[in-house]
């Protein structure tokens, strides 16, 4: 009951300064919204990316020349399959296509026609020359559908017509948004790429623990190559979505700075009115512990309200509203950016960390100056103010 009464007094004290309380609450909530949105979005995308891409090649071998990626001779496959531990080596054929009609870049990906059908494909995979499967972004940008025709200009500046045999469903947008998939042979003809060359080589190994060792052996066997292991690939995506180092936080750093200044201002001193209030409370019989409890409740009351509302708003913005602000920043200059519908990978640990990093500093900045005033003589406090 005593705590409830102190909370009642703390709320009354906050409501006596409605303008200041509202301003702090709005800024505090906005700061939590920004931090929580960035945390939720990047964590969701990072987890989704790493879990999905873990199904990709264990090792990709590129050829480099003059410090740049070059097409690799298919004859290198023979050298690589001789390395102990290597299960299979598959040349990959892929490349880019700039579509001048829509001003978009597509990724043209070749595949093995013996592959199974895909459950995320509406239609079927292309089987022969003149057929292709496309991502939903390509279909949208070219206003085409299943069984329509896609015209692309090949390396020789000749228009080629492809029948769309499949369109990837929107659930696969994150992986296929800009993809035009066709069998390897026709893709080689389209790019004018000789059969003796491939874009890179995908290496499959027997024991995943040996990937790094095999990568070292490949580097020794083909000195001009660059082996990229799957762990490096996944680390890249951790770095890309690393919520601590990003432009999103940089853009919102001004809001963070404003809040830090506000907290610093509170931490470095109380206003004359607040000091007088503490002096009067002590004079009428409150002890230092009660005053500190009052200030703790004031800080906690604001912090809890701001934290909970901020997290809820961030949750709704990121997972239900399609990240209206952050999505725009993430999009950059991308024309074919997929609609962001991230799977919510959130746990109580993340929320706890966010709460610890935001609530504790604010409450401390409220209690510490009050403690300084509360331990001094009430008469002195009131005279000084």
């Amino acid at each position: 009951m005593r705590y409830l009464k102190i909370l009642e007094y703390a709320l009354a004290s906050l409501l006596r300064r409605p303008g200041k309380t509202c301003a702090i609450l709005v800024v505090y909530t906005l700061m939590i919204v920004v931090l929580a949105s960035v945390l939720f979005l990047t964590q969701a995308l990072k987890t989704e990316a790493t879990t999905m891409l873990a199904g990709g090649p264990q090792l990709v071998v590129q050829k480099t020349m003059a410090g740049r990626h070059e097409l690799i001779p298919v004859s290198a496959v023979e050298k690589l399959v001789e390395i102990p531990g290597v299960k299979a080596v598959k040349p990959r054929v892929w490349g880019y296509y700039y579509d001048a009609l829509t001003g978009t870049n597509y990724t043209l990906q070749g595949f093995d026609t013996l592959a199974n059908e895909l459950s995320l494909l509406n239609g079927r995979l292309p089987r022969e020359e003149g057929e292709c499967a496309i991502g939903a972004g390509v279909a949208r940008s070219r206003l085409i559908h299943l069984q329509d025709e896609l015209i692309l200009i090949d390396y020789d500046n000749i228009g080629r017509i492809f029948t769309v045999t499949g369109v990837f469903v929107s659930a696969a947008d994150l992986l296929t948004q800009d993809l035009v998939v066709m069998p390897e042979g026709p893709l080689r003809q389209f790019f004018g790429m000789p059969d003796s060359l491939a874009t890179d080589l995908a290496v499959e190994v027997y024991n995943p623990n040996e990937v790094d060792t095999i990568a070292n052996k490949i580097k020794r066997s083909l000195p001009d190559s660059r082996p990229i292991t799957q762990s490096e690939l996944l680390r890249t995506y951790h770095a890309v979505f690393d919520w601590r180092g990003g432009m999103m936080l940089a853009l919102f750093s001004s809001a963070l700075m404003a809040f830090c200044i506000l907290a610093w201002d509170k931490a470095t001193g109380l206003s004359a009115g607040e000091r007088r209030e503490i002096g009067i409370l002590k004079a009428v019989g409150w002890d230092t512990g009660d005053v500190l409890l009052l200030k703790l409740w004031e800080g906690l009351a604001l912090s809890l309200l701001a934290f909970l509302s901020g997290c809820l708003i961030a949750f709704i913005l990121v997972f239900w509203w399609g990240t209206p602000v952050l999505g725009g920043i993430l999009r950059g200059w991308s024309v074919l950016f997929p609609a962001l519908r991230p799977t919510p990978f959130i746990d109580f640990y993340q929320l706890g960390t966010l709460a610890f990093l935001t609530i504790i500093p604010y409450v401390a900045s409220t209690v510490i100056p009050a403690w300084r005033a509360a331990v001094t003589d009430p008469d002195e406090v009131m005279r000084a103010s």
């Binding site: 409501l15 199974n116 200059w333 799977t343 929320l351």
Partner: protein, 108 residues
């Protein structure tokens, strides 16, 4: 005591909503891992994909893991990139704590 009770009720409602949403998130992500992920992994495996189709404006943003090592941060490691998407990648260049200088012994 009306204010404190109303405040505590509000906090309880917000806390319940947040706990409910977090529970929903965990259920949704578990469903994704059980049902949605195998189909996506099959897609990644069959097409031998290495990157997400998020940023299509440049080669090194479309395939960050396959790009030339020096592609992003073309001015210096801490610089904002020409493309906004490139700026999302934290520069992580090698920062050795010790250095070793090797020189050829002068011929007598």
């Amino acid at each position: 005591m009306i204010r404190s009770r109303a405040y505590l009720c509000l906090i309880a409602v917000l806390l319940t909503a947040l706990a409910g949403l977090t529970g929903w998130a965990q259920k949704t992500s578990a469903t994704f891992l059980a049902d949605g992920l195998p189909a996506r992994r099959q897609l990644v495996s069959v097409l031998s994909l290495t990157d997400l189709a998020l940023w299509t404006e440049a080669r090194y943003t479309r395939h960050p893991s396959m790009a030339d090592l020096f592609s992003p941060f073309q001015d210096h490691p801490g610089a904002f990139d020409h493309f906004p998407a490139g700026s999302l990648m934290a520069p992580a260049g090698p920062r050795p704590e010790t250095t070793m200088h090797i020189r050829r012994v002068a011929q007598p």
